[in-house]
């Protein structure tokens, strides 16, 4: 049954062109990130050429203000962007699952309290808050992840809660209660498995927004200055005036395109996953 179900999911996913497209983009980026040392022509931290070099046969996308190869920077940057996206999304989904299940299962006051906290997080204007947080706790790899997770756990929590409200009326949950199973065991063994599929699609969505947030934070100079992400590249490009010269073509456009493509990859995968998990959205085929 289990393998059948996953087989069925795979079939639905692969029958959606959008999902397949998104998934292949993700795979492509994953391969680039994994094999970055093999693919990149230079070490991105080394000064290998003239500063502000134009594209040439050695430096396909030119060099930056200190003479580092931009192409290598971009290839290594995919590692940071993917890692931050995935880790931050993972943390926010785990938080979201815990909050969603506890709120949905216990209901009443607990639910009310947790959902008001969720409301609070959802309505706070998140860019100013993020800038404030990032500036306050200082720029570093893990702080960025922390900031992103603090902001993006709320909407998964709400989606998961609504699923839990549905699951907890199931007969087997009631049966477990009447048997005398502990609440924690019920949540873990009976409710959690039913929530995982939805959490998966929420995870993909959260990853795409985490990548965007990371890029914007880094662009504003609030990212970790010692790691090279796409946002950081854009930050230096902006700081060195590349936006105003013709250098935008090889210094600004490529990282921008990469961010967009990766986010689109996650978004498409997320949409088709959501379609699988929510049969009402499924089209007749």
């Amino acid at each position: 049954m289990k393998s059948n179900r996953w087989g069925y999911y795979w079939k639905t996913l692969s029958s959606s062109k959008l999902g397949l497209f998104g998934l292949s983009i993700l795979c492509l980026f994953l391969i680039i990130a994994l094999f970055a040392p093999l693919l990149a022509p230079f070490n991105p931290m080394e000064r290998v050429g003239q500063p502000f070099g134009e594209p040439s046969s050695t430096f396909l996308l030119g060099t930056n203000d200190v003479g580092q190869d931009i192409l290598s920077e971009l290839i290594y940057g995919s590692r940071i962007s993917l890692m931050i996206g995935v880790i931050a999304a993972l943390i926010s989904i785990v938080l979201g699952i815990i909050v969603g299940i506890v709120a949905g299962y216990y209901g009443g006051k607990v639910d009310n309290f947790l959902m008001r906290v969720v409301d609070l997080v959802l309505v706070v204007p998140f860019l100013p808050l993020m800038i404030l947080l990032a500036a306050f706790i200082g720029p570093s790899f893990w702080n960025i992840i922390l900031v992103i997770s603090l902001i993006s756990w709320a909407s998964p929590a709400r989606v998961i809660r609504s699923q839990v409200l549905n699951l907890k009326t199931k007969g087997y949950v009631e049966a477990a209660k009447s048997i005398g199973t502990k609440a924690s065991t019920i949540m873990l063994k009976h409710i959690m498995p039913g929530v995982i599929p939805i959490a998966l699609s929420q995870f993909v969505m959260a990853a795409s927004s985490a990548i965007l947030i990371e890029a914007s934070l880094s662009f504003l100079g609030l990212g970790d200055p010692f790691v090279k992400s796409w946002g950081t590249i854009l930050y230096y490009a902006q700081a060195r005036g590349a936006f105003l010269t013709e250098a935008w073509l090889w210094w600004v456009l490529p990282p921008g395109l990469l961010i967009t493509t990766l986010v689109i990859g996650f978004a498409f995968t997320g949409y088709s996953l959501e379609e699988i998990m929510n049969p009402r959205l499924r089209k007749e085929r």
Binding site: G171, Y172, S178, T181, T185
Partner: protein
């Protein structure tokens, strides 16, 4: 009668609040799902609660099983009042009272193997048992519910079993802790007629072997008469008649019971004499009557029926009824209704 009482329910009540009216003029009405229900079950006895949909029988069981809080009343299990007990103590009591649910397709987690489903009660209440002991116990119980050989079934998922087999697993889960009391909420109503008898016989068997006491909920009088030592008939949240099964069937006293019994005994004569047995109409539990709940459908009404709620009164050693007309019921029904209306 000499056996000690295992479960006693005293004046159990459950009200739901219905909100209506506009935002500015909110109106709250109480809807009684269960209204002043009292009964007791002796050790080793099977008490049936019978009634139509929505009469409050499931609500009653859910309150007894502590899946729902009561609005008022007492539930004494082995002399201990279950109402207002802490969660911890309730869990301890649950070891001794288990429930079989109506829908075997819903009560077994579709993602768990049968062996894990049956292990669940052991995990909850026998933390000291080793894994092998638990497995042994699961195997024994599976064989006790006539799924043989047990190994064939234990590694399956619920959807690989038939409805009857699933209900057997649900029964196994309820008896694996060797409880003294089991509440069965319409355990056969979702099953094919062909497998019903098997499930009922299994329950009777288990009762024999384990000395179980049972509360058996059903809407089917023939099932009840097969299973139960005593029957309580419920109508709109109250017990209208309670007594020994044979007595209820042979000499029904309350007009509602009479109608029920005659439907089962002889459907043709019920249809012919429908007018004298019961008035048409759906149950409307929101309409509040001062008097007897059955009055709107009762063919022989008296003035007192509209104004005073009848109380459950003992008519002999084994039977009680809640009806104003009982005192004069030595007369034939048709005669009386002609004289009074």
């Amino acid at each position: 009668m000499s056996l000690p009482t295992l479960l006693e329910v005293v004046n159990l009540k459950k009200t739901f609040v219905r909100r209506s009216g506009s935002f500015l003029k909110p109106k709250k009405t109480d809807v009684y799902a269960v209204n002043n229900v009292s009964f007791s079950i002796e050790k080793g006895e099977i008490l049936g609660i019978i009634g139509e949909s929505g009469c409050g029988k499931t609500t009653t069981v859910r309150m007894i099983m502590r899946l729902m809080n009561e609005s008022n009343g007492k539930i004494l299990f082995n002399g201990q009042n279950l109402c207002g007990l802490s969660d911890e103590k309730t869990t301890k009591v649950r070891k001794d009272m288990q429930m079989i649910f109506q829908d075997p397709y819903d009560t077994l987690n579709p993602g768990m193997r049968i062996v894990d489903i049956l292990m669940e009660p052991l995990h909850a209440h026998k933390p000291n048992m080793t894994k092998e002991e638990k497995y042994q116990k699961v195997k024994e119980t599976t064989e006790a519910i006539e799924l043989i050989p047990a190994e064939d079934f234990l590694n399956r998922f619920p959807h690989q079993l038939s409805g009857g087999q699933r209900q057997r697993i649900a029964i196994a889960r309820a008896v694996i802790l060797e409880p003294s009391f089991i509440a069965a909420d319409e355990p056969t109503s979702m099953l094919d007629v062909s497998v019903r008898a098997g499930i009922l016989n299994l329950l009777l068997d288990l009762r024999e072997k384990m000395g179980l006491t049972m509360l058996f909920i059903t809407h089917d009088l023939s099932t009840a008469s097969y299973m139960c030592d005593r029957i309580a008939v419920m109508y709109q949240g109250s017990i209208v008649e309670i007594g020994e099964t044979q007595k209820i069937i042979d000499f029904p006293t309350h007009p509602y019971t009479k109608a029920l019994v005659s439907v089962v005994k002889d459907l043709n004569s019920f249809i012919e004499n429908r007018e004298t047995m019961i008035l048409d109409g759906e149950v409307d539990s929101t309409k509040k009557t001062l008097g007897c709940a059955f009055v709107s459908r009762c063919p022989h009404q008296e003035a007192v029926c509209h104004n005073v709620v009848p109380s459950l009164e003992q008519i002999d050693k084994v039977q009680s009824v809640a009806c104003h007309c009982f005192g004069s019921s030595k007369m034939g029904i048709s005669e009386r209704s002609g004289a009074l209306v």
